[in-house]
Symmetry: C2
Subunit: 196 residues, 2 copies
Amino acid sequence: MSKAAITKQNIIEQAAILFNQSGFAGGSITDLMAATGLKKGGIYNHFSSKEELAIAAFDYAFSLYQQRYRHVLRQHRHSVDRIQAIVATFCDTVYEPLLPGGCPLLNTAAESDDTNPVLRDRVRLAMDQWRGMIRRILQRGVRAGEVSPDVDTETLTSILISSMEGAIMLTQLYEDTVHIARVREHLVQYMEQLRL
Amino acid sequence: MSKAAITKQNIIEQAAILFNQSGFAGGSITDLMAATGLKKGGIYNHFSSKEELAIAAFDYAFSLYQQRYRHVLRQHRHSVDRIQAIVATFCDTVYEPLLPGGCPLLNTAAESDDTNPVLRDRVRLAMDQWRGMIRRILQRGVRAGEVSPDVDTETLTSILISSMEGAIMLTQLYEDTVHIARVREHLVQYMEQLRL
């Protein structure tokens, strides 16, 4: 990597941490200057706007989750095991966060949905990917006779993601992992009941 | 109400709408001046700081939900009916919003958890009340023999709230009520299975 590429990557990583904790509106370029040790010009040399930087930071944050899922999914073949592994991996990030500040999808969705259509569309794309990953595993599971054919895969995908995202919100709000631990256990058991 | 009290109440209501959509950091006093038709001094005449106003706006937003729940709960006696009514009421706010911008608990939690301990503590208090309402109904239901005694009331409370909050996030993100409709149906059925 060139020195410029290393600097750019460092800005993205620091911005991901800042925006995930303080939000896009709440996280200032002054904060980012402090975190990176760069001057304003040194940041805007790499990004044409705060929004462009926010998108790069969000994409980076989401990529951390994708990498972790890919790694975990390599270890499981049965569809129920794979969904349980996704649930466990997502929920266990509270003990070993990929980024401080909770889930970047939830945080960025809650902030951008009414105010920032460009960023919101980026969150939609990321959520589409996450939903697609879960739905495809469930669909294959039904076809392979591993998952109960009574399952509506779209509905179960919405339920799994909603429960996990809401639980991470409660855990962040209370600084108490009990909520995510309860939802993790519930969803793992729920999936077990659907195993054929 | 005095003219001053009416003005103050109007500021609170407009601030609740603004902050629920744009966030506390994203919603500016300039926006609030436009929404209320007041000058800056006319706003700060009633509130010593933006934070004090944010707390009043959050409390007002939450009170709208409390009023709706109280109204709905008067119509149901059986504990399972009561929980199902809470789920239906919460989920159906997407068709008839109490406030634009989604759930004020989720929005304010996601924004304040890492950055604004005063506002975060207010959200905790509100969430404590919501959790307490659901948990007490479940506990009475177990004692009255209306709800399966196998239910861990604390766990079920976390699961119900997490699912609903996550679903409202998805619905706001996609501007598509299908996610909350799926979770509503799932939770109503899930509660039905616990009915004795």
